[in-house]
């Protein structure tokens, strides 16, 4: 009996023109999101490699490691970040490395192409989060109320069919009928990646499959919700209206409103406020050091090189001390801001998790490595690199970089042009993604929330249908 109902449900859905139209549109969007993602990735890769080459090229001909200025590192493009963009287009992708001080990622994708900030990208997160949830509603709103309006429910229950078996058959049948074609569309889309010469590592494939699974869980939430609402209403028009309101609230209003509420509730000092405090302190420290520089008297004023070395050491010590004080202030201010921001974020996310769309977005971006943590991860990696770079420069020059005293030698003691430095010796920036198990661990709570939503709506559909008036 259960199989009969499941089979009928699958055939009925797949044979309907509504399915052909809606699924056709969704399949095109899924394929398009993979195609656009692959294209974007390749374009970003070309830009990234060009920027890296240009960064090294600007140091060609320099004869002193001290002379290196505007050394930049770049956030490497990731195929998954183009499929589930998360915050990857909002954060700065370039960091200027000075060897000391605070780093500040600049040049986000949206700042380069502001039009995308307005319309955003067509990626899997958008297709699943917005389009497929709507697809689930459009396919599920008439699951029960529609059968009642058609009179087929009455005819079905003129047979010895138990209600639990019937609703179970409907839920399983509709999930299979809708999820399998979506999976196929996703599989074809994923195949586009190697076809378009975008290679994914084994870990990235696992991440992509996990994102697909989370997407199906999320799709299941809206499908079971649709069947539940359809089982709790007498008319398809009422079911559709209720579901539309729920969908708008879930996909569009709650995530935005939660950020707004959290923003009003928890006060976070702005970046500008903090920057102003840092600038003020920095100016104060420079003022103090200027006085010290004015009182600098070399011990050995006969030997120019020794004098320069002594001056550099003096300047280096001042810079080190200034840097230490700035770092202490920065760390304190950053920590205060970070803590307030975390409180705000936590509140926003807890409110937003009322909506399954939030849970899906959080889990998917966590798996793709494009969650809100991405900015801090890039910054942390950048700071790690800066220390590495500082050590490298110290090794090459004997003193820390950033003393703000550059001596350009046109010739050495013998009057010959000194040998040019080899910029390729600079340590390379190797951005480390969060490891897979950590990403999965972090996505599990939201995946769990989606499972709970599924079970909850499934049970609600069950309970509503058992009491449903089939006449």
């Amino acid at each position: 009996m259960l199989l009969t109902i499941i089979e009928k449900e699958i055939r009925e859905i797949i044979g309907s023109s509504k399915f052909v139209l809606i699924f056709g549109s969704c399949a095109v969007l899924i394929l398009l999101s993979f195609y656009v993602g692959a294209k974007n990735y390749k374009l970003n890769r070309i830009r990234y490699e060009a920027a890296q080459a240009e960064n090294l090229r600007q140091f060609e001909g320099l004869t002193d490691w001290y002379s290196i200025q505007q050394h930049r590192i770049f956030l490497p493009p990731d195929p998954l970040a183009t499929l589930v963009s998360g915050v990857s287009n909002d954060i700065g992708r370039t960091v200027e490395i000075e060897g000391r001080g605070e780093i500040n990622p600049l040049g986000s994708r949206f700042s380069e192409d502001p039009i995308f900030a307005v319309f955003r990208f067509l990626d899997l997160e958008f297709v699943f989060g917005t389009i497929l949830s709507l697809f689930a509603i459009l396919m599920g709103y008439d699951a029960i109320a529609g059968e009642k309006e058609r009179g087929t429910l009455r005819l079905s229950f003129a047979n010895s069919v138990s209600r639990p078996v019937y609703i179970l058959g409907k839920l399983i049948g509709s999930f299979i009928a809708l999820a399998v074609p979506l999976l196929l569309a996703m599989a074809v889309g994923a195949l586009l990646l190697p076809i378009m010469s975008v290679s994914l590592t084994g870990e990235s494939w696992i991440r992509l499959i996990s994102i697909g699974s989370i997407g199906l869980l999320y799709f299941g939430v809206f499908l079971t919700l649709s069947v539940f609402i359809s089982s709790a209403t007498e008319r398809t028009s009422s079911a559709f209206l209720i579901l539309l309101v729920v969908w708008i609230s879930s996909a569009l209003i709650i995530p935005r409103a939660s950020v707004l509420i959290a923003g009003r509730t928890v006060d976070v000092p702005s970046v500008d406020e903090i920057a102003a405090k840092k600038n003020l302190y920095s100016r104060q420290l420079y003022g103090e050091d200027s006085e010290k520089m004015g009182s600098f008297v070399p011990e050995n004023s006969e030997d120019f090189d020794a004098m320069i070395d002594e001056f550099n050491r003096f300047m280096g010590d001042l810079a080190d001390e200034r840097d230490r004080k700035m770092r202490e202030l920065s760390e304190r201010l950053n920590e205060e801001r970070y803590n307030a921001q975390k409180r705000q974020e936590k509140l926003a996310l807890n409110i937003a998790r009322i909506s399954p769309t939030t849970s899906f977005t959080l889990a998917a971006t966590q798996l793709a490595g494009t969650s809100v943590e991405m900015k801090n991860r890039f910054k942390d990696e950048g700071e790690k690199y800066q220390r590495q770079y500082g050590d490298f420069i110290k090794e090459k020059t004997g003193s820390n970089p950033g003393g703000r005293m550059v001596v350009v030698r046109m010739s050495d003691e013998e009057g010959e042009t000194p040998e040019a430095i080899d910029p390729t010796e600079l340590p390379s920036f190797d951005f480390q993604q969060e490891n897979l198990s950590a990403s999965i661990d972090k996505s599990l709570p939201d995946a769990g929330v989606l499972v709970v939503f599924n079970l909850l709506f499934f049970a609600a559909a069950f309970a509503a249908f058992v009491r449903y008036d089939v006449r």
Partner: protein, 252 residues
């Protein structure tokens, strides 16, 4: 093989059947009647008389407030799944699944009714029997007229091979030819020893086919006579008398 007990014992029986809806409306007021195998029992009455409520009670779509709807001696509200195995049902407006062909609809409902061994030829035979042309058998129902859909609904009821058949306004909206064919079909089903309970507005068809006719008004049977008792009587005038309250007779 049908034995004598099966023929004499009522298959469908309303025993003091009463239904009061949640809003307090008395839809059925201590209604009693019985239908034996090989009999057609027609309920006539206006809208809100309680005809469809009676059918719904037999199918356990609603539970009785008092009394029982018995099928082969089993109360439908106590053992609904067993009772439904013994009943086939044709509703007023058969819609079925518009994206399925006639045969696919038959196949689904036959399997839902527990009949899993029918072949496509069986479906074709029964569709031909109810008068649906062969060229329509593999067409989707969304292009079918009401009469064609009704024929499919009757075919589904026949395929279930149940001893009792419930018909809720089955001829409503059918053209004269389809109506005539439907009556002939009922005739053959009666000959196959089915007990048929039919609710209808159609006095003339009821008189032509039914073994017993009951007039229902505001949830009560106000008149019940068999075809012999009705012989020579103008059923339409009788109906009008009962409905207007000028009749002197009582329920049989």
């Amino acid at each position: 093989m049908t034995n004598i007990d099966d023929i004499t014992r009522p298959l469908l029986e309303a025993a003091n059947l009463t239904k009061v809806y949640e809003d307090g409306v008395l839809a059925l007021d201590h209604v009693s009647f019985s239908v034996r195998r090989g009999q057609i029992f027609a309920m006539l009455g206006g809208n809100g008389a309680g005809k469809t409520t009676t059918v719904n009670l037999f199918l356990n779509f609603i539970e009785p407030s008092e009394g029982s709807a018995l099928v082969d001696g089993i109360a439908s509200h106590e053992e609904p799944l067993i009772v439904k195995q013994k009943l086939a049902f044709v509703s007023e407006n058969v819609m079925l699944y518009p994206n399925f062909t006639a045969i696919q609809n038959l196949d689904y409902f036959a399997r839902l009714g527990g009949k899993t061994d029918y072949s496509k030829d069986d479906y074709r035979d029964v569709l031909l029997r109810v008068g649906l042309e062969e060229e329509a058998h593999n067409k989707k129902l969304k292009g079918f007229s009401k009469g064609m859909r009704q024929k499919c609904g009757i075919a589904i009821a026949i395929l279930k091979d149940a001893p009792g058949i419930l018909l809720d306004e089955p001829t409503s909206g059918l053209d004269p030819k389809a109506g005539y064919e439907f009556l002939r079909l009922l005739d053959t089903l009666r000959d196959e020893n089915r007990a048929i309970l039919m609710s209808t507005h159609d006095i003339f068809r009821a008189k032509e086919i039914a073994d017993t006719i009951a007039f229902m008004k505001t949830g009560k049977i106000v008149m019940q006579k068999n075809s012999y008792e009705l012989e020579g009587q103008n059923l339409e005038s009788l109906y009008m008398e009962y409905m207007s309250g000028t009749a002197t007779g009582t329920a049989a």
